[in-house]
């Protein structure tokens, strides 16, 4: 029992390897951690030889201690001590004035008498810097000599007012690279500072300085990117040293630059609270926190007052003033339409007339004035009584009567009042009539349609299509852009585009939405958009931690919303993002914060499924009974809260959480059987996320379990079960991804081997070429062809195996389709995508006289799927669209149909039936890209699911000038009897370097 080793460990009685093992154990055992702390405190007492009882809460002690810290911060001549002593491990040692002596105490005794460390730094002469009395930058550098507090003298519009430092002063800094970086930056040499910063070790100080440099970059085109970069760097610095003041400061400034005032205020406030009353940086931090909050609240209050006035007008109150209407014209117009619809009183209509004139609603007002009072009045009165309550059922009933009475303006006004309701098909039919009333009404209709298609139907490509006509107007930098409906449309559109893999495009859409809402002063809508931006940011591929950037936006969202649900969501989301990047410490910290909130002031918030998943994943990584107990307690809490209202899939998910937790602690036969039982039940359960998650995590657990027991065939069996394929006996590579990666290889000898790989901290996945270790690769020697069973992000990854091997991804049950035949061939070429997409034309593809050509306007998504339903060879020559750096599923851009639909998405392909079991060649950029999710889907796997025998698709961009020749040659090889993977491998060899992109063409079976 390892916990019993605590005493021998602490007493120094364990052998080195046993001590190392106990340290590993200690890392995950909270019980031992507590006990160790007790041993240490006991040792302090028995070692100190202290005979007198300490004074209890002696004020002198505490003041002394605090003042001692202040002493270490005393000003005086700001001095640099070139760090001779620290040459080995402390590359720069900087002390300030009176702090030098205290510093020496902290440092010197560590090495003790006889230490080999160099002598104290005090031997070297101090160098004073003649900095300006006021600082010309809004950032802080880590080097203390440059970090003395000076009041701000930042010039508006300029990030930097250069300091004048002499060459002599600069030369004196040469042994302190951090000071060099800061000094170069302060003197305006940002490029040189950046070069020097790149030479520094990745510690908190250098990361913080790099954040400062990013903030000083004045390029307005890169303002957001620089601020996000600074944020990620500062957060990384604080990950290494949580309380490092310059990093905190720079983080707050980055958040402020991103116009996230509440998040910035939170960091400034935390810094200011460190030393209340100390003045300097601390005082300025506290002041800035207060100032940011004050400004935010001011803007929020102004808009809320405007909203309240508009609501009052809609409910029969006074019309908005011209100034109020000018401040938020689209919102004012919405309220005015309702106000007009809810009255038949001529005096009231007359009172609304000036505003109607100002907002361009005069014709509708005139129509209301001219309506037959007998028909209009009862309905208008009924509506007037329903405006404040906004009960959907009542409003829909009034709408039906208004339609029957021919009161179109009332019908339209009710569409505005139902704005917050999720629409159904009836509502959609009502919305379809709105655009006839004018372009403003078209925005209203589109907003509702896009919302419905995105969130209720998950028809993302259709949502994109529905908004196509208005999105341009909303995103173009035009004066008079709508600031009420456009932000909402773009927010939903951003979410939709992110779902179909256009993550960078989605990020831009969300950014525009936010800017519109912000400029309009609508802080609440802006907050909702921040949630979307945060979600997208977490998915983006970035050089730096995307989780840190996402967390900045999410923090602001939660702070603005202020609700328990939002705060818990933000923390759980952050924990999930951290875990996805294998930052377990961060995940645990955030989850702990959320738990404390959930157990305290947010006790009423039910069902944090995300949190339970993260808890489970932490448990799987470091199994402890305490973690399992906590998971079980919280799962029981969910069950108790929801009782009978819990959906069956949620109930099964709860069972899975507990079964998986038990399996993590005890992988014996009963626990294995219980887990297998839950997985089997998930196979037949309907529902979206829960069964998928259970299958994904469950089978991955079984695969990893088999690998750890040395049962490589068991790994393959688990993978085959997960993917629903029948296992062959030939050469096979399997990759199972959950939080770890299980890799299995069966080579030409027929014997299989498996290993479990950890993903390094900060990475989301292992790079495909690194997945197989050398010994595992060597097992594939002599294999004529190799099947790859891969889950998650590795399915479809290029470069998993070398270009010299003949290998395919397997994703569907093997079908007895007989030999390859090419009697019915279809080539889709010369498609005509919508002009606004700006896609360049592609070269025409021809496969010889036997092939049917589908081209031009006929090459619509539906036209293509119809044409290929019995084909045996299909080549689609079109543009694939996804954001280049994103590992997300692609869609193909074809010619628009009568409704304007041009996306051929994976979802749409999956519903087709390909009776001819064709080989499908997707001669389109990125067409083989696969979504990173619990269960991968892509165009390729959808074609296979629809009945294709094999799919050949590139996972990167391809060159148009060589694409046709290469794909035509591959077809010729298959006609000559080669299998798809043989044809691709031979073409790679034959093409030499002519088409380097061919290395990233993947074969799916």
């Amino acid at each position: 029992m390892r916990c019993d080793d605590l005493d021998p460990f602490f007493d120094g009685e364990l052998a080195d390897d046993a001590a190392a093992a106990f340290r590993d154990h200690l890392a995950g055992c909270e019980r031992c951690q507590r006990a160790l702390r007790g041993r240490m405190l006991e040792a302090v007492v028995v070692s100190a030889g202290r005979r007198h009882r300490p004074r209890i809460a002696d004020a002198g002690d505490t003041r002394d201690a605090a003042a001692a810290v202040d002493a270490a911060k005393a000003p005086g001549a700001i001095a640099l001590q070139p760090g001779r002593r620290a040459a080995a491990r402390r590359p720069w040692l900087v002390a300030a004035g009176a702090a030098i002596a205290a510093a020496a105490i902290a440092i010197l005794w560590l090495r003790g008498p006889g230490s080999s460390a160099p002598a104290a730094a005090t031997e070297a002469p101090a160098v004073a810097l003649q900095l300006a009395p006021r600082r010309g930058v809004d950032v802080r550098f880590a080097a203390p000599a440059l970090d003395t507090y000076r009041p701000r003298n930042v010039v508006r519009g300029a990030a930097l007012v250069p300091e004048k430092l002499s060459l002599k002063e600069l030369a004196a800094l040469e042994q302190d690279l951090h000071a060099v970086v800061g000094a170069l930056a302060l003197t305006g040499n940002l490029a040189s500072a950046g070069e020097q910063a790149a030479l520094l070790p990745r510690d908190a100080a250098s990361l913080s300085d790099r954040a400062a440099l990013a903030l000083l970059d004045e390029n307005p085109q890169k303002a957001q990117a620089n601020a996000e970069r600074a944020l990620a760097l500062a957060v990384e610095a604080r990950r290494l040293d949580r309380g490092f003041a310059p990093a905190m400061w720079n983080e707050a400034v980055a958040l402020e630059r991103l116009e996230l005032p509440l998040a910035a205020a939170e960091v400034f406030e935390a810094l200011g609270a460190r030393e209340p009353g100390a003045g300097g940086w601390f005082a300025e931090a506290a002041e800035r926190a207060a100032d940011l909050r004050r400004k935010y609240r001011g803007a929020l209050e102004r808009y809320k007052q405007l909203q309240a006035a508009a609501d009052r007008m809609a409910a029969g109150g006074a019309p908005l003033s011209p100034e109020q209407a000018a401040a938020a014209p689209s919102m004012a117009r919405s309220a005015l339409h309702v106000a007009i619809a809810a009255t038949a009183d001529p005096a009231r209509l007359a009172a609304l007339a000036p505003l109607a004139d100002a907002l361009g609603v005069a014709p509708e007002l005139a129509q209301a004035r001219g309506a037959d009072p007998a028909r209009r009045m009862p309905i208008a009165r009924e509506l007037a009584g329903a405006v404040e309550q906004r009960d959907p059922k009542t409003l829909r009933a009034i709408r039906a009567r208004a339609r029957a009475a021919g009161q179109g303006d009332i019908v339209r006004a009710i569409a505005l009042l139902l704005q917050d309701e999720v629409v159904d098909e009836d509502d959609l039919a009502e919305l379809a009539a709105l655009p006839a009333a004018g372009p403003w009404w078209r925005l209203v209709a589109v907003e509702r349609q896009v919302f419905y298609l995105t969130y209720r139907m998950q028809r993302y490509a259709d949502a994109d299509l529905a908004a196509r006509d208005v999105a341009g107007g909303c995103t173009a930098a035009l004066p008079g852009r709508d600031t009420f409906w456009c932000p909402q449309i773009l927010r939903t559109l951003a979410a939709s585009n992110a779902e179909i893999g256009r993550v960078d495009h989605a990020y831009r859409l969300a950014g525009t939405a936010r800017q519109l809402a912000h400029d309009a002063g609508d802080r609440e809508e802006e907050g909702r958009i921040l949630d979307v931006i945060g979600q997208i940011a977490a998915e983006r591929v970035a050089e730096l931690d995307p989780g840190a950037i996402a967390d900045g936006y999410m923090r602001e969202f939660a702070l603005r919303a202020g609700s328990c649900a939002a705060r818990l969501y933000q923390l759980d989301f952050g924990a999930r993002a951290a875990f996805n990047h294998h930052r377990f410490g961060d995940a645990e910290r955030l989850l702990g914060e959320a738990d404390r909130l959930a157990d305290g002031e947010c006790k009423q918030e039910p069902g944090r499924y995300n949190a339970e998943t993260i808890r489970l994943r932490l448990l799987v990584h470091r199994p402890t009974a305490q973690r399992a107990g906590e998971l079980a307690r919280r799962v029981r809490g969910i069950e108790e809260h929801w009782g009978k209202d819990l959906y069956p899939e949620n109930r099964l998910y709860n069972e899975f959480l507990l079964a998986r937790a038990r399996f993590a602690l005890d992988d014996g036969a009963p626990a294995l059987a219980a887990l297998s039982d839950v997985i089997a039940r998930a196979q037949v359960l309907s529902g979206e996320w829960a069964p998928r998650a259970i299958r994904a995590m469950g089978h991955a657990a079984l695969a990893e379990h088999a690998a750890r027991r040395g049962d490589a065939e068991g790994v393959l069996a688990a993978l085959a079960a997960r993917m629903g394929v029948q296992l062959d006996t030939g050469c096979t590579v399997g990759v199972s991804h959950d939080d770890r990666v299980t890799v299995v290889v069966r080579g030409a000898t027929g014997r299989a081997a498996a290993e479990v790989r950890e993903v390094p901290e900060g990475q989301r996945v292992l790079a495909a070429p690194e997945l197989l270790s050398r010994p595992m690769r060597e097992r594939l020697a002599g294999c004529a062809s190799i099947e790859v069973l891969a889950t998650g992000p590795y399915f479809g990854a290029a470069g998993l195996l070398g270009p010299d091997l003949r290998w395919t991804y397997r994703s569907s049950p093997r079908r007895a389709t007989g030999p390859l035949r090419f009697e019915r061939q279809v080539v889709v070429t010369d498609v005509e995508p919508p002009a606004e997409l700006g896609l360049p034309p592609l070269r025409r593809m021809q496969l010889g006289p036997g092939a049917r050509i589908l081209e031009g306007k006929a090459a619509t998504p539906a036209g293509v799927l119809d044409a290929i339903d019995d084909a045996e060879l299909v080549v689609i020559n079109a543009h694939g669209v996804t954001d280049a750096n994103e590992p997300a599923a692609a869609s193909l851009v074809l010619s628009p149909d009568a409704k304007g639909s041009y996306w051929l998405t994976a979802d749409r392909v999956k519903q087709a039936k390909l009776a001819g079991a064709p080989v499908v060649i997707l001669a389109a950029c990125d067409a083989g890209r696969v979504q990173v999710s619990a269960e991968p889907w892509s165009l390729a796997s959808s074609f296979l699911a629809a009945g294709a025998r094999a799919v050949i698709a590139p996972t990167t961009e391809i060159a148009d000038d060589t694409a046709n020749a290469v794909f035509e040659s591959i077809v010729q090889r298959m006609r000559a009897g080669k299998s798809p993977e043989q044809a691709v491998a031979e073409e790679r060899e034959a093409s030499g370097g002519r088409a380097p992109w061919l290395a990233n063409v993947v074969v799916f079976q």
């Binding site: 029992m1 120094g12 340290r23 590993d24 154990h25 200690l26 890392a27 006990a35 702390r37 007790g38 240490m40 405190l41 302090v44 007492v45 028995v46 202290r50 005979r51 300490p54 809460a57 505490t62 201690a65 605090a66 003042a67 001692a68 202040d70 002493a71 270490a72 911060k73 005393a74 000003p75 620290a86 402390r90 720069w92 900087v94 002390a95 002596a101 205290a102 902290a106 560590l110 203390p144 970090d147 040469e174 042994q175 690279l177 060099v180 020097q196 520094l200 070790p201 908190a204 100080a205 290494l240 309380g243 100390a278 003045g279 940086w281 601390f282 990584h621 199994p623 602690l665 950890e758």
Partner: protein, 202 residues
């Protein structure tokens, strides 16, 4: 021109930083107080760190980082036992390092995991160490079984190893460990009765 003389490696430790802020009054008195606290804590923390770490260099780094953190951030205003507080801080740093170093923590044997589940005997609660002096410990030892006390004294105050104690008392080495463990439990029980339970501020 600025020359670069030092070669920095990626594993270089965090540099010492001194924040430069306006002075407060009582600088000299404060500095002396902090110096006294650190000087008092240094040897104790080093002895403890040497038990925790694999080698002297790691122990030295652990203590240094503990003191740097204390110097940089200061002690909490209401801390009652600065050395104990520093020990707790060092404990936290050490656990962080263990976590960072633990590569395959799930590789514990099944028996180990069962240990977490089946070892039902709870740890004794920790007494309020910040109130307790070495005299209190001696007094408490008088109340525990002599065979346990003897081993505890030899180990704790005379710094004898398990093997030396075993030879001196003619008992097995494993028995020394068992008695020491029980001595600690009994000692805690007595101290808890006298001084109450531990609080987090050490």
């Amino acid at each position: 021109m600025i020359a670069v003389f030092l070669t920095l490696t990626r594993d270089a430790c965090q540099p010492v930083r001194w924040m430069v802020e306006p002075a407060d009054t009582g600088v000299r008195r404060a500095r002396e107080s902090l110096e006294a606290t650190l000087a008092d804590a240094g040897p104790v923390l080093t002895r403890i760190a040497e038990r925790l770490c694999a080698n002297a260099a790691d122990a030295s780094d652990l203590v240094q980082d503990t003191l740097e953190r204390a110097t940089r951030n200061g002690l909490p205003p209401d801390v009652r036992n600065p050395v104990g507080w520093l020990a707790t801080s060092m404990h936290n740093l050490f656990i962080d390092r263990c976590r960072a170093a633990a590569r395959r923590p799930n590789h514990e044997s099944l028996a180990d995991r069962h240990a977490d589940i089946t070892q039902l005997e709870p740890d004794p609660p920790e007494p309020a160490w910040w109130r307790i002096t070495i005299d209190d410990v001696h007094e408490a030892l008088a109340e525990i079984d002599a065979s346990y006390r003897e081993v505890y004294v030899l180990h704790t105050f005379e710094h004898r190893s398990y093997e030396e104690i075993a030879q001196q008392l003619s008992i097995q080495r494993v028995t020394v460990g068992t008695r020491l463990n029980r001595a600690r439990k009994k000692l805690r029980e007595v101290l808890v009765k006298r001084f109450g339970l531990e609080q987090k501020d050490a």
